[in-house]
Amino acid sequence: MFEPLKPIPPGRRAVLGVLFFALFFAAWAGATYGGLVKPLFLADPLKTLNAGVTLFVEFGFAKDIVMTIWRVVGGFVIAAAIGVPLGIAMGAFKPVEAFFEPFISFARYLPASAFIPLLILWAGIGESQKLALIFIGSFFQIVLMVAVTVGATRMDMVEAAYTLGADRISIVRRVILPGSAPQIAETLRLVLGWAWTYVIVAELIGASSGIGHMIMDSQRLLDTGQMIFGIVVIGLIGLVSDFLFKTLNERLFPWNLAR
């Protein structure tokens, strides 16, 4: 059963995956209904669900969700729109890489959340501050990861294209870009996941809407049910966006999976 790297049948895989969720809920229910944890610190599953219903029905939580998604997508799209072309230019052309790489490698380690006070100073507490934070959190990662992907283009494939008559523009357009596209899409999927953590941080401070703002509000009211529900919603949206991205990638790049 525990042979290294041995695949398991899909049926058993699904069962095991669901099993963990079941155990998780069972432990949660056991801890709360069994009185092991005070309700003040951890709401029980039913209460959490009820809190969720209340949030949607009475407090317009759907609007918060839409706000949050809008911010993530907005900041992420801006970061990708600039970061992907720059990353491609860096990966394909070594002088461009030599020019930008040292700074971007440094900037990548600047923690995005540490910029919040500055960003509030520069951009207030409006939408542009939230977008800016997500941009800072995603941009440098995208640039570097795309540059590495593009730079790893197989040289013998480039040479083959040259012997078939390709010029420099064709090498980029017909070899480097299509060859790197799946990995670039994979990078975007990964960074989108990180963007989700930044948006919540942005909304915890100085926001009047969004999932993070709701969680902050609920803390003031000590409503652990709502807080947990908010966190679970973030997880679910992340799961769904990840799934959509994956499906899209498989559709766009069938050759990458062909066996």
Binding site: R154, D156, M157, E159, A160, A161, Y162, T163, L164, G165, A166, S170, R174, V175, P178, G179, A181, F253, P254, W255, N256, A258, R259
Partner: protein
Amino acid sequence: MSRLKIEGVARVFPGVRKGPPTQALQPTDLEVADNDFIAILGPSGCGKSTLLRIVAGLDQPSAGRVLLDGEPITSPGPDRGMVFQSYTLFPWLSVRDNIAFGLRERGVPEAEQEAVVRRYVERTGLEGFENHYPRMLSGGMQQRTALARALANDPAILLLDEPFGALDNQTRALMQELLLGIWEADRKTVLFVTHDIDEAIFMANRVAVMSARPGRIKTELRIELPHPRHYRMKTTPEFAAYKARLTEEIREESIRAATMQP
């Protein structure tokens, strides 16, 4: 008439980490006539691939020059089609689009592209695989496609860098016959690099034997076996005589290569 002329081509690679430079190729001359099939035979590391890469324009000689139809070669171009030992098909393109890569580059009309692709799909035995992606193909099928891709461009000369080196013996034998059949049909000028003596004798009209590193062409041997050649030819006494002779030549170089100081 000579189509390709290699004149005093040498290659020195700069030293790594302040080490001494490496001479990969001593000044080498070779003339390739139209419709010739020349095999460059040598032990590993003798610089035979370097020589071929210089002809392709993928590497620059440290001295000397290469002329194709009288014109010096400075960069790669579609007049010198190449098949590599590694699998270099574009994985995102189907077999059809891989073969049409060079045609699309030149802006050949769609209908004509389709006709050329069909012709080379037939000649390389790829019927039914036109829509497959390279990942779905065996190594032999991938090299057939690579051969079709190079031929579809109708190059003046075909450069083959151990194209069957990574294939198993049976597949390799079939590929040799396939390539030979194509050559016998239209006599395209071929420069074929290999370390396999049987392969060199079976395919080529002329075998150029290279010395151990730093390589140079030390012997040229004309192979007077009649065409069309058949795989059974490999067991004839004539074939064996060529093999005995080349084995001696190569063995000497292999021993020198194996005992050489780094």
